[in-house]
Point group: C2
Chain length 409, copies 2
Amino acid sequence: MSALEPPGGAPGGSAARPDAIRRHNLALILGHIHRDGALTRAELTSRLGVSRSTVGALVADLTSLGLVEESVPTGGARVGRPSHVVGPHSAGPFVVGVDVDVTHVTSAGIGIGGEVLGRSTVPIGPGRPRPERVVDLVADAVAALVAGCARPVLAVGVSVPGTVDRRTRAVGVAPNLEWRDVPLRDLLSERLGKRLGSVLPVWIGNDADLSVLAELSRGNARDCRDVVYLIGRTGVGAGVVVNGAPLMGRDGRAGEVGHNVVDTNGPECHCGKRGCLETFIGDQALLALAGRDVPPTEANVEAVLADARAGDERALSAVRTVAAWLGQALGNLANTLDPQRVILGGSLSAVLELARPDIERALEHYAFDPHHPVELTLPRFGADSALLGAAELAFSEVLEDPYLAATVP
Amino acid sequence: MSALEPPGGAPGGSAARPDAIRRHNLALILGHIHRDGALTRAELTSRLGVSRSTVGALVADLTSLGLVEESVPTGGARVGRPSHVVGPHSAGPFVVGVDVDVTHVTSAGIGIGGEVLGRSTVPIGPGRPRPERVVDLVADAVAALVAGCARPVLAVGVSVPGTVDRRTRAVGVAPNLEWRDVPLRDLLSERLGKRLGSVLPVWIGNDADLSVLAELSRGNARDCRDVVYLIGRTGVGAGVVVNGAPLMGRDGRAGEVGHNVVDTNGPECHCGKRGCLETFIGDQALLALAGRDVPPTEANVEAVLADARAGDERALSAVRTVAAWLGQALGNLANTLDPQRVILGGSLSAVLELARPDIERALEHYAFDPHHPVELTLPRFGADSALLGAAELAFSEVLEDPYLAATVP
């Protein structure tokens, strides 16, 4: 995306006349600062390819919208006049990102540029995580973050381990939550409206889709047009980017590779089939292979991984078995999608760190063209990709139209 | 894509001043006629949303380029002055589409709108189809079609059952041809240059990718943004469209689902692995299941299908077994890509006709969300999808810039 000059040639116009070109250029600058942090006016001028005075006017607009602020860097021993740097406003608006996993809900207030203003993790509690219970927990967390921060809040983004309809933002199927057709956006909007006394836009997305969005926007997929984020937690799913854009499918259900059957005689899956990929590389598989009959909480999974790191043979063997199945799954994904890079998230990050050779050996065997290897990498944001992706989703409207910040109470 | 008016407002300009807007609008009209056949000036005016006089000037340009011609429809009992219809020029340029399969080469001269001007099919002959032999056969076929047609030829498009590098148009891996790293475009360009004494642009594409292109342009995927064309011949592969655009992957190797392993204990595949999808639903699998130890030629496969249609139990049982595996494969594809529609080509068309319930039953079992069915359809172009897709590829430059027709000798 490049900057536009007004047809007349003059930089003209003001925040009071929000024409499309100015909006486009404001969005460009805000996007650069959101993705890269503070930048000098000179850097912005060069990136946008417009005049210094145009950049000055645009920065002034973004400042008056409360989105950015300028400062003079201190320290260092630069010669000459220091260039002003433009960064996220220290009192600027924020969003709330929420990551609903099977066993816990993590929430964070996140500012432009990814600054974490506060966060909390609460267990969902034993038994099936009913939608009402999750909506309560999320509403509590959002209300606490909003109350605890004097800055304006723009929106809420929620990550869920299930399919999300791209239009209604309802959850279709979330097998590990045992949810089916839950109108999560509507439920949460209503609950939040009552709690906060005002309307806050709510966005819902699939965990793997949001993870790849976070890595594509500000993480380890920034330079990629074809990338897969494979997340392995209790469930397994893929967030896919092709031709530089998210692959959503007909209505947002693409990437559910955790329920691709890889062995028709494999273990029973909670979805009713046998031998789904999830039964070979999900957290429950790892725990079972390590001989531990415990629920797939973060702590239990981390215990196996810690033992494997410490050299425990059974734990390491479990990790290596998962790694081999993971390599086969990556071979199928590579054949189907031909990505440049696959980012391994959730507990699969630790599997990559502990058993990369096992993964690569299986991938080489199962890929249609082994002379053409896929890059395997860790997520930049570690376990927070889905959380930060939820925040990206919540930021998407203001990043497209910074004038929306003026309408926030 | 919508029509553009020149900034000044006037339709102005002539073929002698090929500015970007005029080129865009000419491409729009040519595209409508290529996809839909003859259209009246009134229809074009309404589709483009520009003035009658603008359409008149554009049609005049396309006529002088030899691409379209106007006629007054005869017959019928219309009241009032008949509207002139604009259709492909009867002496207009053509392309040569070539479909290289494992056992034979099919070639056709194809005009704008898909008119077949002549075609030939030659067997490749026994044994491994060496690249030199295939280049000879293709060059012979192209030379014969060019010599036999007085109209100008624009380009040659060739479909191959293997991966094609999106930049070099070299074949990477074509396992059923036993080819690896064959610079097919360069080889064929050189041979054709010698045969014809002039340079003819040569395009190479993967058979499944070209099949979905043909169906997307003028066939049964025209209304789809997310569609898969699964082709089953000797080899099995998928052409995938997501977000309305072809999924090529990093460098054109996406869609090689025939070598996704679906059973690690399955039959040996010629690629060196065990249990590739191709060993369950490819033509050789069908022949083996039907108890026929013969090579997978079109005639041998057709014999099994004819017997199955006639009620032969063993042949029908073979088809139904293929159908069940096909349904499982479609489940995995649906989970991964969430397409609206899957078009089944090659011998899989007959499997759909003979055993749709078996496919749908397996698909329902293996799809992550069975309440959300995928449409299964036949290709509009039957066995010619790859051939016509190769022609689409060869037409792509002139469809983007109709002025190129003026440079053809």
